[in-house]
């Protein structure tokens, strides 16, 4: 949907809404929604190209394949593939995290990073001078070091049960790290994985909106006037922001 159409939808509401009232406006909107979901051909090709296999996958942040593989293996343990649907790797979560670390998120761009840095109480929140991009590199390195010490193998080569043991240690804060607790890294990492599963697919994760489909979440839909008063559960196909461009 073009910007113009999108804005005109709001204008449309402005002009007709006043006299037409809620029901009529709701009804007209459904028409828009349907048009939106069906789209025109060009737009459908566009979304098809976005699907899992078609996404151009490359790294913006990680330079070292092993680091990226450690990240991927750990992410898959947080959100594994099962009968409900894909896991973190198939959803593209490692690429989501990679892309995020290359930008504002990785550089804590909108956070207060000025020193001096002191440890502080848990109620005062994180106080490390480490940027998130470095926290990930250090955290990943620490996980792999632990794998090597404990099992003489790189983390990606461990069995899922062995990987879980190491991640549990990391979660408890029991893995040796410098300048931050492994538990802090774990919590940031875990949140990033969940975000990669469910953020809009334009960020590189949630491939084919499969994260949303598992949860039966309809995504970036513009309106629910048609179902808001429904008594039954509505399983609605998701749409993403790309579907609305």
């Amino acid at each position: 949907m073009s910007d113009k159409m999108f804005i005109s939808r709001r204008k449309f509401l402005k002009t007709t809404g006043i006299t037409a009232g809620l029901a009529a406006v709701g009804g007209s909107l459904i028409a828009f929604e349907t048009a939106e979901a069906k789209g025109n051909d060009a737009h459908n090709t566009h979304t098809a190209a976005q699907k899992n296999s078609g996404i151009p996958r490359a790294r913006m942040f990680f330079t070292n394949v092993l680091d990226f593989n450690i990240l991927s293996a750990a992410a898959e343990r947080i959100f594994p593939k099962d009968e409900l649907g894909p896991g973190a790797v198939e959803l593209g979560v490692p690429y989501f995290i990679d892309h995020q670390l290359a930008g504002a998120y990785g550089y804590n761009a909108r956070e207060y990073m000025v020193g001096p840095h002191f440890e502080g109480a848990p109620t005062q929140g994180y106080q490390t001078p480490l940027l998130r991009k470095d926290l990930f590199l250090q955290g990943i390195a620490a996980i792999n070091k632990q794998a090597k010490t404990q099992y003489k193998l790189d983390f990606p080569d461990l069995s899922p049960a062995q990987q879980d043991d190491i991640l549990k240690m990391c979660e408890k804060g029991d893995i040796k790290t410098d300048g931050f607790k492994s538990s802090f890294f774990f919590s940031v990492f875990k949140s990033a994985v969940i975000a990669g599963v469910y953020a809009d697919p334009m960020y590189g994760g949630n491939a084919d909106m499969s994260g949303w489909k598992m949860k039966q979440y309809p995504g970036a839909r513009m309106a629910y006037t048609d179902i808001i008063e429904s008594d039954k559960f509505e399983n609605i196909e998701p749409i993403s922001l790309a579907d609305m461009m």
Partner: protein, 569 residues
């Protein structure tokens, strides 16, 4: 050297709801107003692709950029205050419209009890709380503030129903009928009624129908898209300063709005202020904007900070109890619980203030003689729209990652409902605002320091309300309920509420207040300070209706002062 600009009648620091009310009222009365807003310019056209949870809800896309300015925090005076490095507990506004762009829009009044809390508590319970709690009456009664509430509710539009037996008297009904009652909400309503409570549709500044404000601004009916809280509304269905107040001022031709203008000082000479100094955040250039009247509308934090930096008023000293600036800093007590149900529900649809609330355990609506606390909180079930990154509730005992977590979080996404309370927060002598002596903002100025912890009163209220919420969810048919823990200490990390109050409180006596009941500063009668900072304590519900009412009262004060040039009390 700062460049000195032409003098204006009124300058507001900050342009959110408070700055918007002042601008609309003063320009319409013929005054020239300059609005200085540190953040960027925006209109509804910036919200067309707003349904992006990662950008806006998780990474705080519309909120304060902490790399420029934050606060420091300690639980008590014995600690080392450290900076809040990332947003969490509360989400400060930034940019035109302030937090009023990304609010939920629950628009609720305080009780008559709140405005005379000291007298009324004493009358009913004697000296129940120790003198460590700095309870005080507001210097305006409910009956006095009522017309301003009505003005604000009509100016921005409010959908609601007059059904709660505990409400103060209303001079007019709600401007609009309530939003739709979803199945989730009618189930909650029934459960509340079963427990003998008095539920009603939460008053919402979200349009249940097309609405034209008394100023002539048009708003549209809500589409229940579920992207309200932390987002701007792309339909102009949720009221915000940018669709109800700022355009009103702009249409008069008397409003000079400047964004990217960060005020760093209020200039004072003798017992008058002369204007403000600001930095253009894009060029770094400094300007002085002279004005006959200065109105601080920059929210609780920066209203207090600017007065402190400009050395206007006496700083509160917790040791001696002397001084008023920074005193009575309050927050909110926020118990809550999640209920897990068998049936799937349309949790993704909703609106920020679409809810059912009850006041049976709020204010002084129940007997506190056998309880360890006074006041209480509004309990609400919101049908605000669950989103997948933020909503991953799992029943107690489920691991927080891995295969079992995946199953449980996916399964329960459409089967989990939350209810929560907004417990009142009472002033304590150890909870206050001051300036930090280590950390600085991007302009080289000290950060504001917040010293805050929960009190005995807070923890007792928390347990009480928590149990009531659990009972409500069980009565609704939840299979299991998980409650938020009753933390011993206030923690700045998890989101709780942006309902921060105090620091620049109003009152009848300069001994215990910073401004009089026109929000006019006791020490400089052409300086007005308005916002939730004026609250001597925080009530048991959302603040903005009261903030808006005080802003209308303040606007009246500014116009009166403009004619008389004297203290108004």
């Amino acid at each position: 050297m700062a460049k000195i600009l032409n003098k204006t009648d009124v300058v507001t620091v900050g342009v959110g709801f408070t700055g918007g009310v002042i601008a609309a009222e003063c320009t319409r009365a013929g005054l020239n107003v300059v609005g200085l807003e540190r953040g960027g310019y925006r209109t509804v056209d910036d919200f067309m692709e707003i349904h992006d949870e990662w950008r806006y809800a998780i990474n705080y896309g519309l909120m304060q950029d902490l790399s420029k300015e934050t606060i420091t925090f300690q639980n008590n005076r014995g600690m080392r205050a450290l900076p809040m490095r990332q947003l969490g507990s509360f989400l400060l506004g930034d940019g035109l419209g302030g937090a009023g762009v990304h609010w939920n829009a629950m628009n609720i009044r305080f009780f008559p009890y709140d405005f005379e809390i000291k007298s009324k508590t004493k009358e009913r319970y004697g000296n129940k709380l120790s003198n460590d709690y700095l309870l005080q009456d507001w210097g305006l009664t409910y009956d006095e503030i009522e017309p301003y509430y009505t003005k604000f509710e009509y100016a921005i539009g409010t959908s609601g129903e007059m059904k709660s037996p505990f409400d103060g008297k209303r001079s007019k009904p709600y401007p609009m009928k309530p939003l739709v009652k979803t199945k989730i909400l009618s189930n909650f309503e029934k459960a509340a009624q079963k427990l003998g409570c008095h539920p009603y549709m939460t008053p919402a500044s979200i349009c249940s129908d097309a609405y034209t404000t008394p100023y002539g601004e048009d708003l549209n009916p809500c589409q229940y898209c579920g992207y309200c809280e932390r987002f701007g509304c792309e339909y102009d269905a949720k009221s915000s300063p940018i669709n109800t107040l700022i355009p009103v001022a702009q249409k008069t031709g008397k409003y000079d709005l400047r964004c990217n203008a960060n005020v760093v000082e209020v200039m004072k000479k003798g017992d008058k202020v002369t204007g403000v100094k600001y930095v253009d955040t894009l060029t770094g250039e400094e300007y002085i904007q002279p004005a006959d009247i200065v109105v601080l509308c920059s929210f609780v934090m920066n209203n207090a900070k600017l007065l402190m930096l400009s050395k206007i008023g006496e700083m509160y000293n917790p040791e001696t109890g002397k001084g008023t600036l920074g005193r009575n800093f309050c927050y909110q007590v926020t118990p809550g619980a999640t209920g897990f149900f068998d049936e799937q529900m349309n949790v993704f649809a909703g609106a920020g203030a679409l809810g059912v609330s009850l006041d049976d355990y709020n204010g002084d609506n129940f007997d506190h003689s056998k309880l360890d606390f006074i006041h209480g909180g509004l309990i609400t079930m919101l049908n605000a729209g669950s989103r997948p990154i933020g909503s991953n509730s799992v029943p107690k005992g489920t691991p927080s990652w891995g295969a079992e977590f995946k199953k449980a979080s996916v399964y329960n996404f459409t089967r989990a409902l939350g209810a929560s309370a907004q417990g009142a927060s009472l002033p304590h002598k150890e909870n206050f605002l001051s300036l930090d002596d280590t950390y600085k903002d991007a302009y080289g100025l000290p950060l504001l320091k917040m010293t805050y912890n929960f009190t005995k009163q807070d923890r007792a209220m928390f347990s009480y309300l928590s149990e009531k919420i659990e009972n409500l969810l069980m009565a609704m048919g939840a299979k299991s309920v998980s409650s938020k823990p009753n933390g011993e200490n206030y923690n700045i990390v998890p989101y709780q509420s942006t309902h921060i109050t105090g620091g620049t409180v109003m009152g009848r006596d300069p001994k215990d207040s910073v401004v009089n009941n026109y929000m006019q500063h006791w020490d400089a009668d052409n300086l007005f300070v308005v916002g939730a900072g004026n609250f001597p304590h925080n009530g048991g519900c959302n603040p903005t209706d009261t903030v808006g009412a005080l802003a209308y009262r303040c606007a009246e004060g500014v116009l009166k002062y403009n004619k008389k040039s004297v203290s108004l009390v």
